[in-house]
Every structure is written in structure tokens, then in C-alpha cells.
């Protein structure tokens, strides 16, 4: 705990950000996020947008898996639902961007709630299989209906917001990053409410939660719905970002990517979802940059590309062996060190 913090009310005790230092750091982080597009190249802007989309989706999965304890391997399918909804609305009716994003979120939410129905009866691996089935059903729907463009998918015009055409990473950044930040704040606040605490109670022991008066089905469905809403909005952002949506855009491996992100980052922690998504998106790119820096040219690229994947896999295993609580725990330890420095922690 930080030294010298003194709470005088329950409200202060339950505050999301509880110290002045934290406010200062958040201010600096916000300033950096605002300044970033002006100093970053197109490539880094692209990565920032991709990270923000992945953060939004993995935060959603964290609500479901990390906080409610329900395993899901269907996050990519729900993203797909959101992306297709946005693409269809944008391409066919040209409805406003924010409305499309919300619609994408709600359609995914409905899909998530339907898939979540078995969650009252089954848990763990059984539930994982149900959600995998959802992935296959979603893929079938995407590939076999004319409204989704069949296997060729849908191409769409760039989105517009307040007259600005979002056709570059720079412009998209101002849509994607603030949306992701809002979603993060929403998730962080969720766990200060009755609903969020009910989720945590269900995760810790669902029978006890029921005894305490928490209606399990209702809250489990709500958790599925919220998680899928996040995935749907992330999918919608993805659609605006890439402007082409095909059935192959949201494979099962993407769901595994998000699950890996929250495990590596730290389950049941908002910061964990963020760090995990950043790690999973950036590390392969960083490894590429390192390979590029080595002398040897393209021959070395050919040789080292598979090695890069092995290193990435080894890094994930290494993290889980040496820090099973994820990157969020490492961050907490680092913070503790600075809070207590120069004393031993």
C-alpha cells in the first residue's frame, strides 16, 4: 500500500483512482495518448490502433473469464458478429458510425447471451466446447448468406464522423483509442458496482453466490452479454480499421489469442487485460524488429522467421512458469518497489 494515504469516507475508499500520484500519472498517460499520433509514424499508429482494438476485446473476455470464471473460446466469433453488423449497416444503409458500433455491440451481445444459456448447466471445459461450437456456427453463417457476401465477404467505404472521413490510421486513432479507453473505464467501474461484485462472487464459488441471493443464470447471461458487447464493439472498430470483413477474418485462433492475452496479462485484473493485449500484439513485432537489426539480410529473415515464433511461444511459457499471476502482478510488484523505496519490500 502507498504510504500516507488517508481515507475519510466510504466514497474515498471505493474511488477508482484514489491518490494524487495516481491522478498525475493518469494525466501524463492521457497526455501521451493525445500526443502520440503527432509524433508516431504510420506503422506505430497502425499498431496503436490494433492494440486498442485487442485491448477492448480482451477486456471483454476478462469480464467473462477473469471476473466471472466462465471459460470462453468464442470471443473472435462475437467480434465477427459485431464486424459484420457494422459492415452490413455501413455498406447497405450508410447509417452513422456510432450507431453502427452500438448496433454491432448489441448484436454480439444477443449472440453472446444465446451462447451463454448453457453456462448454468456446464462449466470449465464443457463450456469452452460450447463456445467453440459458437465459433463454427458463426463461421457458417458468415460464409453462407448473401447478406454477408458469402466467402468473399464485405468491403466497405471508410467511416465518417462529424464530416471527417476515417481513411488513415491517424484519423482512425481518434475513434479507436478513445473508444477503447471508455470501454476500459466502463469495465473498471463495473467492478465497483453490485453487478461486478456479483460476477466475482460467482467466480469464487457459484453455489455460495446463489445462497447469497445472486440469481446465477441472470448474472451469467449478463456477463456473457457484456463480454460479447465488448467483443462486438471491438469487431466493429476492426471493420472500420480494415474495411474488409470475410469469414476467415475471425478464426478460432483469434479467440485463443485473447484467452492467452488475459492469462499472460493476469486474469481478473483490468490492467492484466491491457498488458496482455499489448504483450501479445507487440512482442511478435518487436521480435521482427530485432531480427531486422541483425546483419544477414533477407536470408536471415527466412531462417529466423520460424525461430521467432518459437521464441514467442517460449516467452509465453516462461511468463506462466515464473509469473503465473501474469504481467499485472509484475507491474504491482514494480509499483510496490517504488512505493517502499528505499526500504526493502
Amino acid at each position: 500500500m502507498r504510504i500516507g494515504t488517508f481515507k475519510e469516507s466510504y466514497a474515498a475508499d471505493a474511488a477508482l483512482f484514489d491518490s494524487r500520484t495516481q491522478h498525475v500519472w493518469l494525466g501524463i498517460a492521457a497526455a501521451l495518448l493525445v500526443a502520440f499520433p503527432f509524433i508516431a509514424s504510420d506503422y506505430w499508429l497502425y499498431l496503436a490502433c490494433l492494440i486498442a482494438i485487442n485491448v477492448a476485446s480482451s477486456t471483454g473476455l476478462n469480464i467473462l473469464t477473469g471476473y466471472t470464471g466462465l471459460v470462453s473460446l468464442g470471443q473472435a466469433a462475437f467480434m465477427g458478429l459485431g464486424a459484420y453488423t457494422v459492415a452490413i449497416l455501413q455498406a447497405r444503409w450508410g447509417t452513422p458510425l456510432l450507431l453502427n458500433l452500438l448496433a454491432g455491440g448489441f448484436v454480439a451481445m444477443l449472440g453472446g447471451m444465446v451462447v451463454g444459456i448453457p453456462s448454468l448447466r456446464v462449466k470449465g471445459l464443457y463450456l469452452a466446447i460450447v463456445t467453440i461450437a459458437a465459433s463454427f456456427i458463426a463461421h457458417f453463417l458468415f460464409a453462407n448468406f448473401s447478406i454477408t457476401g458469402g466467402t468473399a465477404g464485405l468491403s466497405m467505404q471508410p467511416g465518417q464522423i462529424f464530416g471527417a472521413v476515417l481513411d488513415t490510421s491517424f484519423r482512425l486513432y481518434w475513434l479507436i483509442v478513445p473508444t477503447a479507453v471508455l470501454m476500459l473505464l466502463g469495465a473498471a467501474n463495473l467492478f465497483r458496482t453490485r453487478i461486478g461484485r456479483a460476477f466475482i462472487a460467482i467466480r469464487d464459488r457459484d453455489i455460495s453466490a446463489e445462497v447469497l441471493g445472486i440469481p446465477l443464470l441472470q448474472y451469467k447471461l449478463l456477463s456473457f452479454g457484456l463480454s460479447s458487447f465488448y467483443a462486438g464493439v471491438a469487431g466493429g472498430l476492426w471493420a472500420y480499421f480494415f474495411r474488409v470483413v470475410t469469414p476467415e477474418s475471425f478464426p478460432l485462433s483469434l479467440s485463443i489469442f485473447f484467452l492467452a492475452a488475459i492469462i499472460v496479462g493476469g486474469m481478473g485484473s483490468i490492467l492484466g487485460g491491457v498488458l496482455g493485449a499489448v504483450f501479445m500484439t507487440l512482442v511478435p513485432e518487436m521480435l521482427k524488429l530485432i531480427v531486422d537489426l541483425l546483419p544477414g539480410g533477407t536470408d536471415l529473415t527466412v531462417f529466423l522467421s520460424p525461430v521467432r515464433l518459437v521464441i514467442f511461444g517460449a516467452l509465453i511459457i516462461g511468463f506462466l512458469v515464473f509469473e503465473p499471476l501474469g504481467l499485472a502482478e509484475m507491474w504491482r510488484r514494480t509499483r510496490r518497489f517504488f512505493h517502499l523505496w528505499p526500504f526493502r519490500n
Binding site: 506503422y43 506505430w44 480494415f242 522467421s305
Partner: protein, 395 residues
């Protein structure tokens, strides 16, 4: 005092780190010295993942042609630089590679790895206006100069490949029955409907169309369906290898007399030879000559001198892509025009009866987005080679 010194030092280290970070963001790493006059070919190449077998060949092909051109003094005195990135055959990684390469280099030409990438990056190509792109995709959709004005295909599109096969079949056995077996993917479904219409136009019939999962293994029910239709020819599309050998083996066991055929990505010599003895006589369309073809192919001789071991058809595809890229750039520079996407595409479309040094057996003309020419080859398992089964067919 000591504490103050430490914190000052820490602050300066943090400032230095922040400055380095900001510099890296604006000028991403590996800002390698690049002459202003270099002609740059960027590449999203799948060196890992399911298409790694092709990516490694494509990369080597582009690299070799660039070396040949640079050893001969470049193009109008300008050196050619090739900047590849591995994509793992994933669209988002491929887009990241594109952004990275284009933000570090003034890219003129770009090789893309998939249909998904070609479609995704198309608006960016139009916006950028300075890049001409080709790639590993032969998707029919890309063969549209209006929708894809800055792209082209390094061969016939998938519908044209079917067209070449169907033309060959109509000549060999008029009125033949042709079955289509294809994978449940964008790649697999691409030419099916249009080719069925073409088959009818050529007087052929399509008694059955069978769709299977891309990598399916158990195809016994599909084989029974196929045997009932008793086709004279069966065309596989949208697969690399599996489940083609399974279809052929089970079909032959059940007394089928069909001739079996494939399209480009199945037709590499090493892939076909993996089919084993049952694959003898397997035919398919190939827009390029095989590595070991000796008939009037000086460029293949050059390649064989550079690389004594067998090179795949993916290699030839990459090599030819680089050759056409640089021919377009050369023609643009010779006309004293800047290297823009429009100018290079116009220069590419000015290619008439162009000699590829025997990589393609006939002189080629590129009037639109594809090179609608190919030849039917047949597997000779004894010789472990693909041999020509038709002359070059132009559509």
C-alpha cells in the same frame, strides 16, 4: 545529497529513454541507408504458417531477380532494393508489414501474400497512389482493373485457370462430363459458378460439384457421390494436397476412370510427386515452365546456374512478379514519367508479346489485370517429373 544525485541520474536516464522512444516512433528502427534513387520492392511474404512452403520460394525468386538486375547495373542506373517481411499468412500481420515497410522506405512496388490482404490494402494503394502491387493471389475478384487499378495477377485468375482446363478437355473429349471438387473457402469457391457456365458453353456437362472442408481427410462419402456421377474429368480446386490423393486412391479402388486435375497451388512438382503411384497421370494447369524444363528457356538456365537444386513454381511466380514489376518501372522511367501507381500500371499494360525468357512458353500480353495463358501438364511418376500434355493455351 546522495539521494538527490540518484534521482537526478534516474531522471536523466528516463529522459534519454523517452527521447530514444520518441525517435524510434517517428523514425522506426532499421532506418537503413537508402539511396534516394533506389527502386524499392516491398513484400508481405508468408515465411511461416500454412503458406510458408510458397513464401520461402517466392522470397527467393524475387531476391534472385533483383540480384540479376542489380548485377547488370540496375534500371536506368537506379539500384533495386527488396524489403520483405514475414506475415505468417495473416491479413492483419500483412497490413502491419505494409505499414512498416512503407513508412521506412519510399516503396514503388509491393508483393502481397493473400486475397484478403489484396482486398484490405486496395484503398490504401489508391490513397497512396505511388505503388503497383502483385501477389500470390489469383482470385477472380482481383482481375478487375476498375476496382483494383494498381494491382495485377502474375498469371491467369482461378476462373481463367478453369477456362484453360475446360478448353483442353473440350478439345480432347467433346461433350465430356466434368466434376468440380473444391474446398469450403474463398479460395475454393472462387471459380466454381462462373466455370460451370463456361463448361456448358463449351458443350461440357458438370454432373456434380462437391465441396469439402479445406484440409479434410475422410472423404469416403464424397468419393461415392463422385463415383455415381461417373465424370470423365475431375477438377480439384482450393487445396494444396489433401484430400486430393485420398480422392484419387479411393476413386481408383472403386473403379473410377476419371482423369484427375488440379490448379496452380496444387501443381508444384514436389507437391504432385507426394501423391505417390496413384497420382501418375494427374494433370493440371500451370502458367509457368517447371524448373527442369529445358525447351527454349534461357532464364530457367540462368536460374539453374544460380540454384542447382529444384526450385518450386512459387519461386518462378516470385521471380516473374519481380520481372514484371521492374519491366513496368523500366518502361515508366524510359518514358520520363514519375514512378506512380497509375504510370507503372499503364506501362505494365503496354506489355505486348513480351518474352519472359521462357518462364512462360509463349510471349505474353497484359491488357488487363491478369496473364490469361497456361498449359496443361501431366505427372510422370516414373520420371518424377511433370510433362506437357498440351500446347500453351491463351484465352
Amino acid at each position: 545529497m546522495a539521494q538527490q544525485r540518484i534521482s537526478t541520474r534516474r531522471r536523466s536516464i528516463m529522459l534519454a529513454a523517452a527521447a530514444t522512444g520518441a525517435a524510434a516512433l517517428t523514425q522506426p528502427l532499421s532506418v537503413l541507408a537508402q539511396g534516394a534513387e533506389d527502386i524499392v520492392i516491398g513484400g508481405s511474404i508468408p515465411m511461416t504458417g500454412v503458406f510458408a512452403f510458397a513464401g520461402v520460394g517466392i522470397n527467393a525468386g524475387i531476391q534472385d531477380y533483383v540480384k540479376i538486375v542489380n548485377d547488370a547495373g540496375g534500371i536506368k542506373g537506379r539500384k533495386v532494393k527488396y524489403v520483405p517481411e514475414d506475415t505468417g499468412y495473416k491479413v492483419d500481420v500483412s497490413v502491419a508489414a505494409f505499414k512498416k515497410i512503407t513508412s521506412q522506405n519510399k516503396v514503388n512496388l509491393y508483393y502481397g501474400d493473400s486475397t484478403g490482404f489484396a482486398k484490405t490494402i486496395n484503398p490504401e494503394l489508391d490513397r497512396n497512389g505511388n505503388i503497383l502491387m502483385a501477389g500470390a493471389s489469383f482470385a477472380t475478384e482481383l482481375n478487375d482493373p476498375k476496382k483494383y487499378p494498381h494491382q495485377f495477377l502474375v498469371g491467369p485468375d482461378y476462373t481463367e485457370m478453369f477456362g484453360i482446363l475446360l478448353k483442353h478437355i473440350a478439345r480432347e473429349k467433346p461433350g465430356a462430363k466434368v466434376a468440380f471438387v473444391y474446398s469450403d473457402s474463398e479460395f475454393g469457391r472462387d471459380p466454381i459458378d462462373s466455370s460451370e457456365a463456361l463448361a456448358k458453353k463449351l458443350g461440357l456437362s458438370v454432373p456434380v460439384k462437391i465441396m469439402t472442408p479445406a484440409g479434410s481427410v475422410d472423404v469416403s462419402t464424397e468419393v461415392i457421390k463422385l463415383r455415381r456421377a461417373a465424370p470423365d474429368y475431375t477438377i480439384f480446386h482450393g487445396y494444396i494436397l489433401a484430400p486430393i490423393p485420398e480422392f484419387i486412391t479411393q476413386g481408383k479402388q472403386q473403379g473410377m476412370t476419371s482423369k484427375w486435375m488440379g490448379t496452380f497451388w496444387t501443381m508444384d512438382s514436389s507437391t504432385v510427386m507426394k501423391m505417390g503411384p496413384d497420382g501418375d497421370g494427374f494433370m493440371g494447369v500451370m502458367p509457368y515452365r517447371y524448373y527442369y524444363d529445358t525447351d527454349k528457356a534461357p532464364m530457367l538456365e540462368k536460374i539453374r546456374a544460380m540454384r542447382p537444386e529444384y526450385q518450386s513454381t512459387a519461386y518462378t511466380q516470385g521471380f516473374l512478379a519481380a520481372m514484371l514489376f521492374l519491366e513496368a518501372a523500366k518502361r515508366t522511367l524510359e518514358a520520363n514519367k514519375p514512378l506512380t501507381g497509375d504510370n507503372m500500371k499503364a506501362a505494365l499494360n503496354s506489355i505486348k508479346d513480351f518474352d519472359t525468357g521462357g518462364l512462360i512458353g509463349v510471349p505474353i500480353t497484359i491488357s488487363g489485370n491478369s496473364i490469361p495463358v497456361g498449359r496443361v501438364y501431366r505427372a510422370d511418376m516414373k520420371a518424377q517429373k511433370m510433362v506437357a500434355a498440351s500446347d500453351w493455351i491463351k484465352l
